[in-house]
Symmetry: C2
């Protein structure tokens, strides 16, 4: 179920030598057409990496011919030289693809990078890697590509939805620094459906809003987040817009769930659902307050249904953002109503937190909007992985 | 240098049995006059504990005769019964003090509690503890009181500033759940200066704003935070307002610094200074973005001068909150300019992070306002303490 399942795409994943481990670290995805629709959503961080600056330009006209992605270096905070490296990478991809008989211009080659910030990419390794990737391009290369974009991820994240004669597939990487306004993640989604870039752009924005943007592993927003959607039109089928958007959203939702499941050092995946809020925005802000509480997340790591920490987090949301009566708040953890009307509810010892998934529901009793956000617990391993990453 | 150093105060700290450890857990501070000025600043959390609701009423008229504080239970999210417990505690203190010949009414007795949320206080232990505290009241009881309010704190926090014939002293507890809009902390400050409650209220608000509200250990805001200032007027001296405010601010600053130094499981105290912001508010918001970054705080735990994580955090602050050009950002860590103009600066290996104190400076190059916030690193021990706290 890789990104080369939809027709009209080839891909490759190779070892360029950017990772000391010797694992695959460079991926290439080529849209073989006949359509070359390409749209993207990028980090909202004001400090963004060179490849984000570049790829924003690439998708501006709605056309993308190819995407090159590297792990082993984010190419962020690398100044004008870093941007020149990205530009040079795109040029190199275009030239190599042209040599392989494909009509590709550098301005239609998106670039994505992930890894440490503040370090230049070793171009002497990366460019030969591009050549190797072009040589390895295959109609079943999607799985290799999904491996090549991993950093601290322990598994690939891939998903697919099959329509009537068309399909949507996606791959993503990300295992920490997951936060609203996109997780630290790179994601490429392919479809062989026929779609305009205007429709694709609108659908992608909507799908990201309700999926990736509702994942918040550690509250940290990356400089490199990128989600690209490429449409080849190779199926010749123009699906109903709602069917395509639904498939796209499902692919994104599965990838987002996969990111949470593989978050650095996590031992629990926590769904925080806020119900009966005045607006969806209010529900989301309340849920974010909970998903960002280190105290709450450490408690879940300790299998401790500490609903007081949920209430304390909920109470930090300003009245004008989320109107509710703090005396009416209910909290349920894994189905046990541990807090009722802001006071002690059912016996907390009834809560079973031994499983990987934890469901926390906060009832605001203020309206009828609801939202679910996913996060992880705060563990010894999270601290370990993130204190040792760059040293 | 305890809170009974200023004239006109007696205090006590006793073991009521609220803590399983058998350590002191109930403190009483009595303002013996002749003035009975009392003002307070409380948590801005919408979910606040019963003693906060009570004490807000007590200070409304600017008079406080006594403060009773307990550790071993926060009396938060305990409903109407919890509020009745607080009321009953204040009544009991008043009656006991009246029996000891002091003219005190329950409406002038502030109550503070700290400990686990969602659990009723054992009143059968607490009320006899009040009697024991009244019996133990002494003109040198401040140090005992400072011990009785501790929870996971490893040391007492006390400070004092001596004026000309008058003084200001304070005690505080808090060792985690430290966040803007107050740390999880209880703090009582005493002075024998002559001051009106209007002036005292204004000075306290200002002092808290620039001290306790600039401490952010883990981004979590408590339900019980309380800072009380009591003035006895016993020195007979009416100091210059600026001198008194300065002394008060210094006492608060030292206590706030003490909270950071004793934060749960921390191995580094981190000062994040943002300079050349357009406004103080902009500087503060940028500093908060850094002090809340788990990735940055875990890196410091690992003695890793990971300035990329500083930049990534700075970049999350919206343009309308803090205008700056992201291409101009400089970052220095312990004096080494590791990031210059948003790119690689001096050699990061020159940064020595082996000491307890870490100084991070972010230069926005946008104006001339600056702010320093204190936080801690994110450590294995933080996770450990906070995953095991209530179980």
């Amino acid at each position: 179920m890789s990104i080369t399942h939809p027709q009209g795409f080839t891909a490759a994943g190779v070892t360029a030598g950017l990772k000391r481990s010797g694992k695959k670290d460079l991926a290439l995805v080529v849209n073989e057409g006949p359509l070359h629709v390409g749209v993207g959503v990028f980090t909202s961080n004001r400090v963004f990496a060179a490849p984000v600056a570049w790829s924003r330009q690439v998708v501006a006209d709605g056309r993308v011919d190819a995407v090159v992605l590297n792990s082993g270096g984010a190419n962020a905070s690398t100044g004008a030289e870093g941007f020149a490296d990205t530009h040079r990478t795109a040029e190199h991809v275009a030239v190599a693809l042209q040599a392989a008989g494909k009509d590709v211009s550098a301005g239609d080659v998106a670039v994505c990078s992930t890894g440490l910030i503040g370090v230049r990419l070793p171009m002497d390794l990366l460019l030969p890697g591009v050549d190797a990737a072009v040589a390895a391009l295959a109609a079943d290369g999607g799985d290799d590509a999904a491996h090549a974009i991993l950093t601290t991820d322990t598994v690939t994240k891939q998903s697919m939805v099959e329509g009537s004669g068309w399909s949507v597939a996606g791959m993503a990487k990300g295992a920490g620094m997951l936060a609203p306004g996109l997780a630290t993640m790179l994601c490429v989604i392919t479809t062989d459906a026929v779609v305009t870039h205007e429709a694709a752009s609108r659908m992608l924005a909507e799908a990201v809003r309700s999926t990736f943007n509702r994942v918040d592993s550690d509250g940290c927003m990356s400089t490199n987040d990128t989600v690209l959607l490429l449409a080849s039109g190779a199926s010749g089928v123009s699906p109903d817009e709602s069917a395509l958007e639904s498939a796209l959203t499902q692919v994104c939702a599965e990838l987002a769930r996969g990111l949470v499941a593989d978050a650095e050092g996590a031992s629990h995946d926590i769904a925080v659902t806020v119900v009966n809020a005045t607006t969806e925005h209010a529900a989301e802000e309340v849920a974010r307050a909970v998903t960002r509480s280190n105290l709450f997340k450490a408690a879940i790591f300790g299998n401790d249904p500490n609903w007081g920490r949920v209430l304390a987090a909920v109470g930090t949301v300003p009245e004008q953002v989320a109107p509710f009566d703090a005396n009416l708040l209910d909290v349920a953890i894994n189905g046990v109503q541990v807090c009722r009307a802001a006071g002690v509810g059912d016996d907390r010892d009834l809560v079973d937190l031994t499983g990987r998934e934890v469901h926390v529901t906060v009832d605001l009793h203020a309206g009828d909007a609801s939202v679910t956000l996913w996060t992880n617990d705060l563990t010894h391993d999270y601290v370990h992985e993130n204190s040792a990453y760059s040293s």
